[in-house]
Structures are given as C-alpha cells and as structure tokens.
Amino acid sequence: MNQVMSPVGVDNHFELLQMPVRFRLDLAELDRHYLEMQTRVHPDRSANLSDAERRLHLQWATLTNEAYQTLKQPLARARYLLKIRGVDTQEEDNTAMPTEFLLEQIDWREELQTAAGDRDACALGRLVTRLKVERNTLFETLATLLDDDHKLPAAAALVRQLAFLDKLGRDINDALAALED
C-alpha cells in the first residue's frame, strides 16, 4: 500500500486524515476528515470512469478506511503511533507483565467463566461496564506517557496490558452473543 501513497507524499495515517501526530485526538474532527476524504476516493465515485481510475479509487478508499479504523480505536492508534516512532510493542513475544496485573487477569477470567456458565446476562453486562472504566483509566495514563512525558517503552508496556483487556472484552462479547444462540 505504501507505493500508493508515495506520489503525493503522504507518509502515515495521521497525515492522510490530516490529524496531529499524537494520541489525544478530536474524534469529531477525525470523522469529518475521514468523510471528506471518502467523498473523493470512494469506489462509488468511479463507477463510470476508466479501469485505471476505478483501481486507484479502490486502493485509496481501502487505505482511507484502514487509516480511519486505526486512528479511531485508541489501542490501535497507540500501537500505530509507537510503530511510526520506531517502537515495536512486541505483543507476540514479550509476555512479562506486572504480577498485580496478572492476578487481576485471573480474577476477570474467573468472573467471566462463572457468568458465562450461569448464562447470566446481567453479570456479563456488569463486567462490560467495569472493563470500560478500567480501560479508560489505562488510556488516560497512556495519553500522558505518549503525549506529555514521551516515555515510549513504558507506553509500549501499557499497550501490551491493554491488548489483554481488549481480548477480554471480545471474549465477554462472545459470551453475550452465545446467550442469543
């Protein structure tokens, strides 16, 4: 995809959507810029154009969606921000976590298992709410580390923790969805 970007000198997702390169973003502004870009590049704009123009619209619209999805979700945004600053979050191979965090994880997992086993939608709903609060607190810290203190390795460690919570969130949602079947 990079070769598509080079002719106009757009180096990263922030530039494509005209957002400042930082973690704290004005999401309403992001939405607006995304829609402005899609209005130009979406494949529906090229249905009656030549094959070459249709191919380019497909590529650019794909890229614009990728940029938007990355910047919209805080975890993906942090990961991406670290990446363009040359820091690998090592989510696959670095499993070192603070003991306290790991113990919390065990608690979360046990509660999820019990609630899912009991098919208790209310308990699962409470887990969703608590997890949201927990994540928001961590995102606040992450914003400080990334935008104010510029402590990138510490930010990467926090991203790894948030990735755990992200997975937990998906598993809770799956458990809720399973109640429908």
Binding site: Q18, D44, E53, N173, E180
Partner: protein, 622 residues
C-alpha cells in the same frame, strides 16, 4: 454509431444532457422489481399489464422455452419439478446446506460448489434461473424506457456471504447486465427512506423478505449513509411462516408423504392463509387436492402466533447482536424502518415495537423501498447529476479467515469492517524444506474451520526450501465495494516470485459463465457475435466518455505529447467502434486504458492533494 467529439476543456455533452439509463433491481426470493430514476422522480417500472411485482418464478419447458413471472407461477402446482420458486435460497449453496430445509418439489443434484436442478430441459443451475428473472426485468426496463440500459445496481441480503454474492453477480453477467454495484438490501432501503424523509440520526432497518432476514444499523448524517453493523439469517423469511402453517395443516389432516403437486398446493394455501391473517382474525377456506379430496384451511390468529413465535424470536437475536456490535442500545435508535412483504404481519410489527420501545416506520411500501433505493444508487453511479449527492459506507457481514494448524480459523478481516477493506497477515512454513502451502479461505464467526463456510482453497508453490518457520508468506485479503473478496499470497524473504491471485468462485468459473452464455446462443452463432460486439461497444463508449470527461477536467496534467497520444488512442477506439470487429474494439479499449493509467494516477494525486490542502485550511481556521 457516430460518436461526438468534444473540445478539450469543454464539458462533455454526454455529461450535461443525456440521462444514462440505469436501473435498480430488487432480486427477491418471492418477487422481484425493477425501478429507475426519471425526471419526474424514482419509479418502479410495471409490466404491460401494469403489475410492478414480477413473481420470482421460472418454468422450464421440454422444448427449451422458458417462462418467467406470472405465467410460470400459474404452473407451480401443476409442474412443480420444473417450476422454480424461491431460487434465491439456492444461490451459492451446496446440497448439504439446503437439505436441512425439508421437502422441496425439485430434483436436486449435488454439484461442486452449488446445487443444481434436474429439469425437463436438462441440468439447470440456480444462477441460470436467477439470470432468467434478471433478463425479464431488463427487458421490461428497456421497453418502458425505450433505450439501452447502461448498468444496474442489484440488491442482495446484507447477510449474504461471498459465495451468494458471487453467484448473484454471475447471474447478472449471464443476463447481459453491467453491474455497477451489488448493494445490500437494508442499505438500499435506508437510502430511499433517508432521502425521502430527510432523516438524520441512528436508524435500524429490519428487513424480513421471502427467504432472508437482515438487520442493519445505520448512522444517517447529511449526505452520508454509514452502516455501523449488520446481522441476519440468510435462511429465514416469509417462506418459513408458510412452512409452519403447512406443517400444521399436514398434521391436522394426517397427510404423509404428499406428492410434489399437493405439497405445492398446500403450501400456496398456507401462504394465502398467512397473508389473510394479516387483516383478519381467522380464515376458513377449502382447497382441492390432486385426488379430488378437499383440504380444509381453517386457522385463527392465536394459532398462527403460536406456530410462528419461534420464527419471530429468531429474528430478534440478530437484532441484539447487531446493536452490540455497533456498541449501541435500543435507546440510541431513532427509528426502525420495516422492509420486506413479511413485515406486514402484525406479529412482526408487535415484536419489533416491543424490542425497540417504539412504533416501527412504515411510511414507504415495504415491497418497493429496496428497488427504489437501488434505482437512486444506480442513477448516482451512472454519473447522472441530480443535485442530490451522497456517500454510502457499507460493511462486510461476516468475518473472513484462513485455516491454520489444527483446523482453526484465524480471522483476517473482522465482520462489520467498512468496505473496501484490505488486510494482510504473515504465515510461515511448518516443515523443513516445505515448498508449497495450502491457503484455505473461510467465512464465518466460528473458531473451527469445519463450522465456517469454505470459500476457496488454493496452493502457493515455489517457496524456496528453508528451515521450518523461516519463510514469510504474506496473505492479503481485499474486499471490494461489492463485498467480494480476492486473495493473494507471496513469499517475502526469498524475493522469488511465488504469487497467486484468487477470486473464489462457486462451481462457476469465469470460463463456465462464458460457456453458459455461449450455450444460450448455441443455435444462433450470429447472436453470440452480436452480443459480444454489443458489449464491447458499450464498454468502449463508457471508456470514451470517461476519458473525454477526464481530459475536460484535467488536460493540464498532461504535456503536449501525452495529450497527443491519448487523443490518438481516443481516435483509434472511436474508429474501431464504428466497425463490427469486437476483438478490434477490445484491443483499442485495452490500449486506451493502458495510455490512461499514468493520467489516472496524476488525477488521483491531484484530488488527494486538494483534499489535504482543503483540510489544512480547515484545521488552521479552528
């Protein structure tokens, strides 16, 4: 055909005045419709007798004659094995998928990819049956509009998977229709509703058709229709309510093993009872069976409700799932639009009202709203300027994954991702010296590959022998704006070209579609040549117009030599279209496309740059 040439820099006349005839088609399980945008507004096109609904029924005769619509429908009881209703349920489906649905009067034949029907006219694919319906609608539109159709938007259930979408596109190719876009039915309804009512906010579209159920949650803001999440059941619709009544009637009358003819008769009676019960508290009528005996069809609303409440419930769990995926609750939903004939049933309306805590919206005819929205989108895509302009952002309904060790599906593109979307992931070899890799593409939410739909299986060869785990095979999934997938894979480290591009297809390869087209002209070679010439000319006209329009806007991006070569390309193609050699036209069109590649790239750059500059000014002024 004499084509006009416009001065570079001047707007092309074709852009200013002539409306390009574009149609929207709702290819439904029970009924199909075609609509178009005219100066007077958007209208559903009726047949010569003034009927807008075309029953999605096709009958095959021994002599090769094919009957579509009302005429065919009359024979569904008399000649059930050769008269196809609800063929949409079979699109992109294998025998094992449809067998679970119970008795049908057709002779099903298991074929790789998609089930086929044994008929008096030979083996017929569901794609061919659908193509006959599309042809009938195209002819209706051409008669009504008195001209050539340049393209169509064809609607599909939002929850259709890749196999079902591809089958629909194949049917359009067979029917000789240029498909501008496959559009999701609830999204089409939202466009029609949103433009008609100037609606803004979060809306749910509850679409219960003859054989499919969709729920889509959309955000409508000025000129933007953004699908947030979609869910559904591709094998649940009004037909199932008929079957519930039918089963009950069989039980009451102690019918076992009914003949195909009687099955069809009793199903028709069940459908009639269901429709009447939307207006009446109870119905009581008779229908004659083939042995002359009389079946009593007596049922009241309470019984009907009891028989079908399970079906109604089955629609509500996808609704809750879609809301959860959109991270919304029912309180966030401003309005619920009902789409599909089956939503006329009071039990459906009551269930929807109860779940959302509000009366659902029925301002637009639930049978027509999808076709109207499709027509509006077709008009927009054809490039007809209406003053109204909008952007439509849709999603992929089901996750796309790849089989990894242990028969597990690794998700590459998640469900509800906005399309077009591309995702790449790297995989490696399992054994030392492994030189090939099987890439198995699946669709669905389950973890086990065996519980997902298999879309394609292909092999990447020529990986240089390396130690296990060293190779880096990058697999890229690209989903286009029709929701259709293409897959490529390449080994990264070696630089050795080991690359495959695959468009999954289902029992029908491009070659087979071509063969079917040829077969349909088997006894008239001239016709096939005529069709090819016709198609190439249409394609050439589109390219000429597009190139002229591009030159009119941006000729300054080209130097004199480049302009001259594109003008030469235009002249050559124009000259070729006046001849009758379709291969020559194709050659000239390919050449012009090639010449225009660099020009297209510069135009795109300019457009992006303008967007970026515009936004920079915006950002500064805040």
């Amino acid at each position: 055909m004499l084509l006009q040439i416009s001065e570079p820099g001047a707007p092309s006349p074709s852009q200013q005045t002539v409306r390009r005839l574009a149609i929207g088609i709702d290819l439904g399980t029970t009924n199909s419709l075609v609509a178009t945008v005219e100066d007077s507004g958007t209208t559903v096109l009726a047949d010569a007798k003034g009927r807008s609904l075309l029953p999605s029924v096709v009958r095959y005769h021994k002599d090769g004659e094919i009957e579509v619509g009302h005429g065919a429908k009359l024979y569904q009881s008399e000649d059930p094995a050769n008269t196809f209703v609800s063929v949409k349920r079979y699109m992109g489906r294998g025998l094992s998928d449809v067998a679970a649905r119970g008795e049908v009067p057709y002779r099903l034949v298991d074929m790789p990819g998609m089930v086929q029907f044994e008929t008096v006219a030979g083996l017929i694919s569901p794609v061919q049956v659908s193509a006959e319906i599309l042809k009938a609608l195209r002819e209706r539109a051409e008669q009504a509009l008195g001209g050539e159709i340049v393209g169509a938007v064809i609607t599909v259930p939002a929850y259709f998977d890749d196999a079902q979408r591809q089958a629909t596109k194949d049917a359009a190719a067979l029917a000789g229709l240029e498909v501008f876009r496959l559009l999701n039915e609830p999204t089409a309804a939202a466009v029609a509703y949103g433009l008609d009512q100037a609606a803004e906010g979060t809306y749910a579209v509850y679409d219960l058709g003859g054989g499919t159920f969709d729920i889509s949650i959309l955000k409508l803001t000025r000129g933007v229709f953004e699908v947030l999440a979609t869910n559904g059941d591709p094998a649940l619709g009004g037909d199932d309510f008929d079957h519930a009544v039918y089963d009950w009637l069989c039980e009451r009358n102690s019918y076992t093993a009914l003949s195909a003819i009687d099955t069809r008769r009793l199903l028709s009676a069940a459908r009639e009872a269901k429709e009447l019960l939307s207006k009446l508290e109870e119905v009581d009528f008779h229908t004659e069976m083939s042995d002359g005996s009389i079946a009593n069809i007596a049922i009241d609303r309470a019984t009907f409700t009891r028989l079908t409440e399970g079906l109604v419930k089955r629609t509500l769990s996808p609704v809750r799932k879609a809301l959860r995926d959109a991270d919304l609750t029912v309180e966030d939903v401003k309005g619920v639009v009902l789409v599909g004939g089956a939503t006329r049933m009071p039990i459906i309306q009551a269930a929807v009202a109860e779940l959302f805590g509000q009366t659902p919206l029925t301002d637009l005819d639930p049978d027509k709203v999808v076709a109207l929205g499709a027509a509006m989108q077709a008009n927009l895509l054809a490039g007809n300027k209406t003053g109204d302009d909008w952007l439509l952002l849709d999603v992929i309904p089901l996750s796309l994954g790849i089989e990894t060790l242990g028969g597990l599906s690794e998700k590459i593109v998640p469900r509800n991702a906005t399309i077009p979307v591309a995702r790449a992931q790297e995989f490696t070899t399992w054994k030392d010296g492994q030189t090939a890799m099987t890439i198995h593409v699946v669709q669905g939410e389950r973890e086990l590959v065996s519980e997902c739909r298999s879309l394609a299986r292909f092999e990447l060869h020529g990986i240089p022998p390396m130690v296990a785990g060293m190779a880096r095979v990058r697999v890229t999934y690209q989903v286009d704006a029709d929701g259709l997938l293409s897959v490529s894979a390449a080994e990264q480290i070696s630089g050795v070209e080991a690359r495959v591009e695959v468009k999954p297809s289902y029992g029908l390869s491009d070659g087979e579609v071509a063969r079917m087209i040829e077969d349909s002209y088997a006894h008239a070679k001239d016709d096939l040549e005529a069709r090819r010439l016709h198609e190439q000319r249409a394609e050439a006209v589109r390219l000429l117009e597009a190139t002229e329009a591009a030159l009119a806007e941006d000729a300054n991006l080209l130097d004199a030599d480049e302009q001259a070569s594109i003008f030469e390309g235009l002249r050559t193609l124009r000259a070729a279209t006046e001849g009758t050699d379709w291969l020559a036209i194709k050659g000239a069109a390919d050449a012009l496309n090639e010449l225009g590649t660099e020009f297209a790239a510069r135009r795109m750059d300019l457009s992006i740059r303008t967007a970026l500059t515009g936004q920079r000014v915006d950002a500064l002024s805040i």
